[in-house]
Each structure stands twice: as structure tokens, then as C-alpha cells.
Subunit: 345 residues, 2 copies
Amino acid sequence: MNDRRNDSHRRNATLRDVAEACGLSVATVSRYLNHSIKLPTATIDRIDQAIAALRYQPNPHARSLSLGRSETIGLVVPDIANPFFGQLAAAVDQAASRFNLGLVLCPSLGETGRELDYLARLSRRQFDGLLFATGNGDNPELLDRLRDTANVVILADAIDALPLPGVVADSEQGGYLGTRHLIEAGHSRLAFVGGPEQIASNRHRMAGFRRAIAEAGTRVTRIVALHGAYTIDHGETAARQILDFDPRPTAIFAASDQIALGLLTHFKQEGIKVGRDISVVTFDDAGPHHLFDPPLTAIRQPIRDLGHRAVALMREIINGNDIDRITETLPIELIIRESVKPPRS
Amino acid sequence: MNDRRNDSHRRNATLRDVAEACGLSVATVSRYLNHSIKLPTATIDRIDQAIAALRYQPNPHARSLSLGRSETIGLVVPDIANPFFGQLAAAVDQAASRFNLGLVLCPSLGETGRELDYLARLSRRQFDGLLFATGNGDNPELLDRLRDTANVVILADAIDALPLPGVVADSEQGGYLGTRHLIEAGHSRLAFVGGPEQIASNRHRMAGFRRAIAEAGTRVTRIVALHGAYTIDHGETAARQILDFDPRPTAIFAASDQIALGLLTHFKQEGIKVGRDISVVTFDDAGPHHLFDPPLTAIRQPIRDLGHRAVALMREIINGNDIDRITETLPIELIIRESVKPPRS
DNA sequence: CTGAAAGCGCTTACAG
DNA sequence: CTGAAAGCGCTTACAG
């Protein structure tokens, strides 16, 4: 016993150490720590002193094992190096830490395998809940697992096929506003460069694109849609294709920042000047677009609100409150900069 | 007992469930799973089938509690929304997952309190190791804790005061190369806009800046150094101050991308054209700088290598191999774009 | 080689 | 109100 005591500055102190140190049972100290007991202030002081002296901190594994929950949520994102997800992660972290919820980042690289793995860890209660941003909402296996998994909230990219709680930006309205802006500038040949054709965010952005075009009637004479992935590579490829069309589209709606980056990179390489030679609006607006040449007009996602709202929803779920299994839509905003100009006749 | 069996499709299966299912003891199954036993193939098949049928997966909390380690490392970064750290996190994740190490992101917001908290969790074995990127390397309390904490590797920002294993970019050489580039373009009035004055990365970048100037002899006639923080705000403030100097510096070395972003934002606002009116080189190069107006000349950090090397070091440490408690320096690269031009006479 | 049992450090239903 | 004890689901030293 003395041995245990003596090297307790080496080992981490356990609940038992502090209980012994103040002549109480571990049960009492545990209850005190979990606020499920009222104690005389003298006792409280003794405990607090022992805790301070021993630098006691609860072992999270033991606690989680016993409790069957971890007080931690996970955030799965396709690519943490993408500033949109970086900013989203920062927003989620801020909200989570306000509620004393741990946050672990779960990068999926867009791989369904990794996503399923995170779901499995959820069911092992390694996480109490999972905030799920995925571009694989059309994958049957993933849908299957998602269907009978509780404590998931969809984030950033809707999954239409399933009634799941979630928060996303208003992609349809974003597609609409951006495209209308293009049309109002006088463009009649439009290109939509999108992500994976079947996933909700892409379909919604495309739907908004279509709505603006329908509204414009005969003013729009030509449309091309190039679906693919929300990546720089796809943007570059699409840029190449667009330059080859005859007649060439004069304005592009890029369904994500990464796509726009690819577009701009290729145009720059080819000496095509955005604004003057071709107009572009992007979606997300998670980059320093005001410093671009030219400054990039964009549909801005409400990143902070998305993150905060998702955490709020998750808290409701974890606390056992009933919640609508529908995904909420947050408003987007058109940020007009200088990448959209009238077409040169 | 039958009860347990019957609802085992509801509960998560435990090791005991699979042991019962194939008529073995939990000890044997556990040993099999941990590769510390040779079994007849018939038995192996039985176990594998039971595992598959019950969809068994080990409970990570139980495992960690029993083992006293978590097979997880943490990455503490000041700001996950900063693309430099986002890209660093992606690199670390890639390396960690290659070794089947879990990674949890620990955003510190630059707060020492949070950093100490992560260190405490490390000593509770919530992490087996911590990759530590901090701008608080001059904080005495943090230094104290770091001194007697094992399993920490310093990342991205050196801590000179302590002999700790780590990996950083060659800030001194970066400061030198960037500044020499400015001087070679013909500038004689130079400004250094840095981060916190006392931290290693800033001092090293400043030292490189000084070395280039010393080397230039009398060609450089005026120097101003504006230390502060690696933030956009500081960049904006510094830009304002620089414009007020008389005579005004004609070239700026920005010690981080965030600082450069602030600089450029203010200059743009004021109608000062970078390249023409003032030259700028940035440090980090984690943004789409080739698309800026003008494209930003930069010192590029070897982000991927930093992340990979840090994980490799951590593995050595975790595996108990002796490792030098020195921080390694990785080479940087000068990326010449168009934000540095000769001064207008 | 295999199994029964102790132990990891908590929480909490159950008795007193 | 408080404590002894069981239990969370693993791993592994110790016996057989």
C-alpha cells in the first residue's frame, strides 16, 4: 500500500488514490465528481485538495467503458486539406468544445470503406455521434448502414434517399442565384461544371442552374453540363473541354471551389483571362477569393452556421430528445466580385 | 445465457460472444486476434466465421484500458482552418493510417490552456503520442510540462529551449532565400513582418532575413521589423504601418501566409498594387498563390514531408526505440512568381 | 497449448 | 447519505 502511495507521483493517480488520500470510498469521490451527491463543504475541500495534490484526472478509457459513451463526437470529412472542410472542422470544434464534447476528425478521403469503418466505431461507442459529410450518398452499402444507425447527423452534403437529421446549405438557391447572375450579365451560352452527378448537393446545384435558365426563357441558347468530382483535377479537365466546344460557353458555374481552382489554373495556363474572356462563379467561397485575378464571384456557404447547427442537433440526439429526421437548409449568399462580366460579342 | 445469445444482434457482440459461439475461451480468441498464438486452421476458421456472423469488433475503450495504450496519436495545431495546418493534418493522417495509428486532431486555438489539457490527456494514455505544433514555445508553463513529458514530437515550429525530437522546415534558409530574392530585384528598403517575436520559427526567419541583408552590405539602406502574430489581422495592421513609413519600404518579407493575406488585403483596399508598388514574398505557400493578383512569390514548406517524418519519429518513440532528442530541419524552396519586381525609382 | 482469473480504472445499482 | 461489490470488455501472467 505504501508502495502504491510512494510512487504515485510516477503513475497517474487513480480515483482510488484520491479516495485513500482523503479517507473516503471511491464511490463517494466518483459521485462527487459526477455531481450526483451533496457533500459537506469540509469534505469537498478535502477531496479537492487531494485531487490537486495528486494531479488526479479521470482515465477516459475507463470512464467510457463504464459509461458506455465517450462524450466525444466524430466529424467525417472527405478531405481535411480542402479549406471548406478545414473551416467546417474549426466551426464544429468551436461548438463542440463549448459543450465539453470531444471532437475527433475522421478523414475519409472519400472512401466508402473508411466511412463504414467510422460508422462501426460509432456503434462501438468510440463516438457518441458522428457528423457525416460525404460525397458517397449514392452508395448502397453506405445507405444501408446509415439507415439503421442512430446518432448520425448529415452535414454539408444532403442524402436525399434517407430521412436523416442534418444541415446543409441551400444548394438549389445557390445554383439559381449564381446562374441568374451570369444570365443578367448577358451570357447566353452557359456551362455547369459539377461534382458527382448523382449526389444531392450536385443535383440541387444543377437544379438551381436549370431553374435560372428556365426563367430566362429563350435568352439562354446553349447549355453544357460536365459532371465529375469536386476536385481540382476535374476542374482542369472540364476547362480543357469547355475551350474545345464550338460555340464556346462564355460563362461557367463551378459547383465547388476546388473545381473553380482547376478551371482557373487551366485558363491561366492557356492565357484565357477570366472576366474578360470567360465568366466564372464558384460555390463554397472558402478561399481568399478577393485576392484572385480577377476576384472570384462566389456563392458563399454559411460554414460557421452549418458547423454550429450540426453540433446543436447532435446534442439533442445524444440527450435523447426527439428530433426531426429531416435535413435543414441554411441560406447561402451571392458574393459579387469581378469574375463575371458581359460576354465579348 | 440464451437471453444473451438471443439479443446479440442488438447489442454489440463481445469477445465472450464469439468465444461461446465457437466453444473456446475468451483468452484463446483474444490471443488469436492479437497474433500471439498458433491455431489449427479448423479452429481459425471457426473463429473467423463466428466473428463474421456476429460482426464482432473489439471495443476500443476496453482494449485501451487493458493495454494502457490507445494506438492513437494526437496532432495539436493552433488553427485547423488555416490551410497550412489543414494540409499538415492531411499529411499526418495519411502517414498515420498507413501504420494503423488512429489520429485525433487537437485544435488549440493557440491557447496554452488547451495545449496543457492535451498534454494531460497524453499522460492519461488517451493518446500514445502527441505531435505538437505550437506558437507558444516561449511559455514557461508549457515548457515545464513539455520537459518531462515523453512521447511528444515537435512539429512545424521548433522549441529551441528544449531538447525535443521534432521536424521543422528550414526557416532560417527560407528567410534568407526570400530576402535575397528581394535584394536581387534591387530593393534597398526592406520590411520583415513576422509572428510572435520570441518563438523559434519567427526568430529563425528573421535570422535568415538578417543574413541576406548582411551579405548585401551597403545595398540595403533601411530595415523595419514588425513582429506580432501569424494572423491576417497582424498583416493588415502591419500593412497600414508600412504605408506610413517615410521613406516607405519597397519590399516585404511576410513570415507566414496569413500575414501575407492581411498585407494583400489592405494593399488592395488602398489601391496599392503588389509587384508594381511594393514587392512581397510570403512563407508557407499553402494557398492557391498562383491565382493571386499578382501571383505570390513564396517560400514553400515541405508540408507532406513534415507530416510523414513526424509520424515516423513518433512510431520510433512508441516502439521504444531510442531517438535523438533534436529537431530535424527539412529544406524549403523558393517559388518565384510575380509579386517581386524591381522598385520604381 | 489452453483456460480461469485477475486486473485495467471507472460508474452505479444494491444494501446497509 | 455512504460503502462494498459487480460490471463495462478487453489482455495476459499464472497454473494446469
